[in-house]
Amino acid sequence: MATQAAFMPGSKVETGTFWGTVWSWLTTVDHKRIGILYGTSAFIFFLVGGIEALIMRLQLARPDSTLVGPERFNELFTMHGTTMIFLAVMPLSAAFFNYMIPLMIGARDVAFPRLNALSYWIFLSGALFLNSSWLFGLAPDGGWFGYANLTSSQFSPRHTIDFWMLGLQILGISSMLAGFNFLVTIINMRAPGMTLMRMPVFIWMSFVTQFLLVLAFPAITVALILLMFDRFFGTLFYAPAAGGDPLLWQHLFWIFGHPEVYILILPAMGIVSEVLPTFSRKPLFGAPVVIYSGIMIGFFGFGVWSHHMFSVGMGPVADAAFSISTMLIAVPTGVKILNWIGTLWGGTIRFRTPLYFSLGFIAMFTMGGLSGVMHASPPVDLQQTDTYFVVAHFHYVLFGGSIFGLFSGIYYWWPKITGKLLDERLGLWHFWTMMLGFNMTFFPQHYLGLVGMPRRIYTYAPDLGWNFWNLISTIGAFLIAVSLLFFIANVIKTRRSGAVAGNDPWDARTLEWAIPSPPPVYNFARLPQVQDRDDFWLQKYGDGHGGAPRPKGGPVTAAEIAAIHMPPTSYWPLLLAIALAVMVSGLMISMVQVAIGGVLTLVLMYKFAMELHRPPGGHGH
């Protein structure tokens, strides 16, 4: 049989030579390596987006500042938003999806390993394409949500918007491919016995996120396609003079944009839901409720988009409807927070860096959630929307929430990924400076918004009472930068002299801790038989109701290992991603390039598809 089984034994990836190593990374289809690639790239782009933020904060430190002009400032806030969302937080989450999903569900890889590599390379090409705009002096300047009709060729005649619109299309393809891959992985590759309700909560939150990815991105894809046709082929979708309505963009964008918010926060919620039980040594309090809340958030996430548009004049009925749906979605979110606190209650809480970041997540996300409830009320929102109050709100959600959650995940899983524990002392310095810097930067912005400072202004008059807290906010931003230096120092120190982690340094609860750190290529020598959500904990301690620890199977034999088939490396994903970038960038250069890139893409898709069809090594029978 073995039609598809062109699967070679667990490949020896380290080839020794430098170029051999590079090649092995370029052609890898191992979910763990791809996860590391995602994580590293995302962290670099996180720094890029951070530097953009620092320049903006410098500009705003005092009134009537002339450090950067409006042109540069507009580029900076557009790219800061776009970078942080699409090139930092999403891929950082993707890094955890890649590395952790197969480990936590007891699988050897994702469902489509080569597609996984393709997602990464498309992501990287899109990210580089978008950022290459800086080199041409054509950085996008339409804001991260690029409202029509400012983005039309009439009002943005240069290629700035093209870079943004095409870059996002490329990134969208990557996100959707990854979304399909993880959906199938979670549905189909769970270890025997792992029913849906036995999936770890991080897996559940990831699962919901993947649904959101594959269902939300089509909406922005369409919005961007319409924009592309408007700019390149003279259609009239967003042309008011022809009867087109620029608000169509806003609707399509936010049909994507609101689920996107949950795409950014749910993975962090999942991480916190793993870290808290581990460090309080108790199962997640009311795990089913947390899971259902995640599903509710995901589902309702598609019914609240217009709360970003209360000021556009939709009329009282629509305002009321979207206000109510938005308040509804606050319920499951609030429930989650109490469940997390319930998890800590009665535990024996061991304070380690991952836990600090998770606690920081709860404390800060609560704040962001509560300010969110304020602008769920349209009259209040009319005062707050497009001011620094909203800037403060979404940074409490996306920085205080997502970034703290993701750092919690980084500290938590670093030993699993590298085999070494990050330094606790530097970790605490990182946490406290980040916590302080974060609050110093963003808490005053609530005040600034309430005293009328609009967002996206590159300058302000000195007599409005905004000067002092803007300065404090800028100082806070630099404190955040310092906190990241602690993190980088920690990474370097740990690489040199970190403590060896062992399989299970935290006495944790889920499957990934049952295997060596870092895990072997095949993850599990023997696929686990799962009996509970906290399966590994039960293996160690029994069910907590007097049940004995589960007996271990016999030692793994060499023959078992030899029988494991892992997919071979492939260079088609990389080539295909390059061809796609050639095609898309051609839209700004010449249709000949589009055609060449298109044909190349088709040919490579064929090659990609046929690579495993009747391979020479396959042995039919």
Binding site: L183, I187, V214, D245, F302, M314, G315, A318
Partner: protein, 114 residues
């Protein structure tokens, strides 16, 4: 070889029976008839347009689910497959309806002379 694969495929299906060639042909005939009725209904004089719209939508929905249910085997397939398709379909339809409502609520006034 071939048979055992077919058997494997059948087991993957999960749910009850399995469509046969005869079923396919019957479904196709029904589809053809509905399409003919759809087109013909356009030419019925004096049919109130609301009735026309409702019946056209109903007929196309029937066609839609016949193809999905029989040709795409969703009727016989695993519940997960059904959820993967029907869930998004419901969200998509709901969003279309919401967008339509939002846009007819907008009174696009005649161009204001500026």
């Amino acid at each position: 070889m071939a048979e055992h694969h077919a058997a494997a495929v059948a087991t993957h299906g999960g749910g009850g029976g399995h469509a046969t060639v005869k079923t396919y042909i019957n479904v196709a005939i029904v589809l053809a008839i509905i399409t003919a009725v759809e087109v013909a209904s356009l030419y019925i004089p004096g049919l109130p347009s609301s009735l026309l719209v409702i019946s056209l939508l109903a007929m196309s929905a029937v066609k839609f689910f016949l193809v999905v249910g029989f040709f795409m085997h969703l009727r016989y397939d695993h519940p997960i497959m059904r959820a993967l398709f029907v869930g998004p379909l419901i969200i998509a339809i709901a969003i279309i309806l919401a967008v339509m409502a939002l846009f007819s609520a907008f009174v696009l006034l005649p161009r204001v002379v500026l």
